[in-house]
Subunit: 296 residues, 2 copies
């Protein structure tokens, strides 16, 4: 199964109630109640795919929550509630204790309440665990940062560094960019995404949703631990924010940016389509291996 192709085929069939101004396909659904918007997203992890089964349970739990928080951050929102489904074949009470306490500890750190859950025992001879978390949060109407809101002439900015996420442990240790996302949504950007599937693929999603061409200035991409550009472009699990911003707003942002998190301009949007380097290479083609690796 190709997950992305399947979802692209399926998502359009889902009819959305009128208050749902953004349905599935962005980082979160946006449900507009007039004076406020509810944000909702779901994300799952499976043992052996998103984590090693012997990773400490509290780190697995924290990663699951933080991946979802990163989706709220990408909308410029504030998280509030979460619901968890856990299916596991494990028999060790200590594992469950550590998992749930780890989840709660991480949730408190971000002022999120775990308000619902479901637990299911899996057969002993198969998969270790599968877990799914639904995150709910809030944003102000008009402030939701959609992938489709980039304009020709906008610059592409990134928070933080990219690449080497797995080996460095960053995929477990990262902090979701909630404060940064909420700050950016207050007038600096209305087009944002978080990088889970790789800088290149996630950046291309803003370009595609906004019906624009994206030119990436490869040497400007901040690398984690001097990793190579291919890792930075394709590995994913960076959980940084990419956003489109007008050159004027970017000047102001650089002056006002008070976070420790690095802020870098790594490209710009033009009318047209495709994702190229400044010297004209078709990047989605050039990094095809990495791209396909992430999505099959």
């Amino acid at each position: 199964m190709n997950e992305l192709a399947t979802l692209q085929r399926i998502l359009p069939i889902f009819q959305q109630r009128p208050e749902i101004t953004t349905g599935p396909g962005d980082d979160c659904a946006v449900i507009n109640f007039g004076n406020t918007c509810l944000l909702a997203a779901v994300d799952q992890m499976a043992a052996g795919i998103h984590y090693y089964p012997d990773t400490k349970p509290e780190r697995i739990a924290a990663k699951l929550l933080k991946r979802n928080l990163s989706d709220i951050a990408a909308m410029g929102g504030t998280p509030a509630y979460a619901l968890l489904s856990l299916a596991s074949k494990r028999a060790d009470d200590d594992w469950f204790n550590a998992f749930y306490y780890g989840l709660e500890q991480e949730a408190r750190r971000w002022n999120v309440s775990i308000c619902g859950g479901d637990l299911c025992a899996l057969p002993a001879d198969g998969l270790e665990d599968v877990m799914s978390l639904t995150i709910l949060g809030w944003c102000q109407p008009g402030n939701a940062c959609l992938r489709s809101n980039a304009k020709a002439g906008d610059l592409l900015y990134a928070t933080g560094c990219f690449g080497d996420s797995l080996k460095s442990g960053h995929h477990l240790d990262f902090a979701p960019r909630l404060a940064e996302g909420a700050f950016l949504a207050q007038g600096f950007t209305s087009a944002m995404i978080d990088v889970s599937d790789g800088l290149l693929l996630d950046a291309s999603r803003i370009a595609e949703a906004s019906k624009l061409a994206l030119i990436i200035d490869m040497p400007t991409i901040p690398l984690r631990n001097d990793t190579d550009t291919a890792s930075a472009m394709c590995d994913g699990e960076d959980y940084e924010l990419l956003f489109a911003i007008s050159p004027d707003a970017a000047q102001q942002l650089e002056r006002l940016w008070d976070f420790e998190t690095k802020l870098t301009c790594i490209g710009h949007f033009e009318s047209g389509y495709g994702v190229t380097s400044t010297d004209g290479h078709n990047l989605l083609k050039e990094f095809k291996t990495g791209y396909e690796h992430r999505n099959t």
Copy 2:
């Protein structure tokens, strides 16, 4: 792993924000915004546990949604939005098409929008699928029907019939009692639960949460297809509603009840504890086998 014991140990650790008037442990979480309450619940199914892997995918999808709708019904609420996680090892596009179209068809029937989703490919050598659905809905403040609201002297009423759910196909074909639940919540009851784990166990949860004794009048329990009482008490997956109601309100309800769904008084609450038959048998002990079968 004993799921119930694990959850009972874990649930109290989760700190709830002040607007969450009911946290995990009831059919839904209740988040009170003053003029309205958001209801939220999550429920998962795994192949081989909740359905046969070769069950038609549209029926699997419908069951997953309806199980969650039944939780909204048990609160007296109205469903609105759902988010789906699907982890599957299947490779057949037709299966996914049928699953998602089936889900959407069932969702439209109940005016629910599937506003978010996640899809994950599982290794080919293991479990067929695991799926989790989060349901969101609404109820009026003060109308949420909690397990803990039964009073001594209340009668225990049930909608529909019980037992033989698996063999009869009822566990796939049932209709969640949304209209009935919403009607009941408008003044007739404030203590309700849906029967997923078995009449006896779910009824005992009202008694336990309300700190009351429950006396069940066994011969009054409506049986599906002339099944036996043990099946009706313990099999589960009936997705009927059990609710506590004062004798006066019950008289009025019987006059006003205009649904085709059967309505039956099957017991009453007294001060004390435990669940007994009218002739004094300790039912949780008598049906221990069934009880344990459902929870290990």
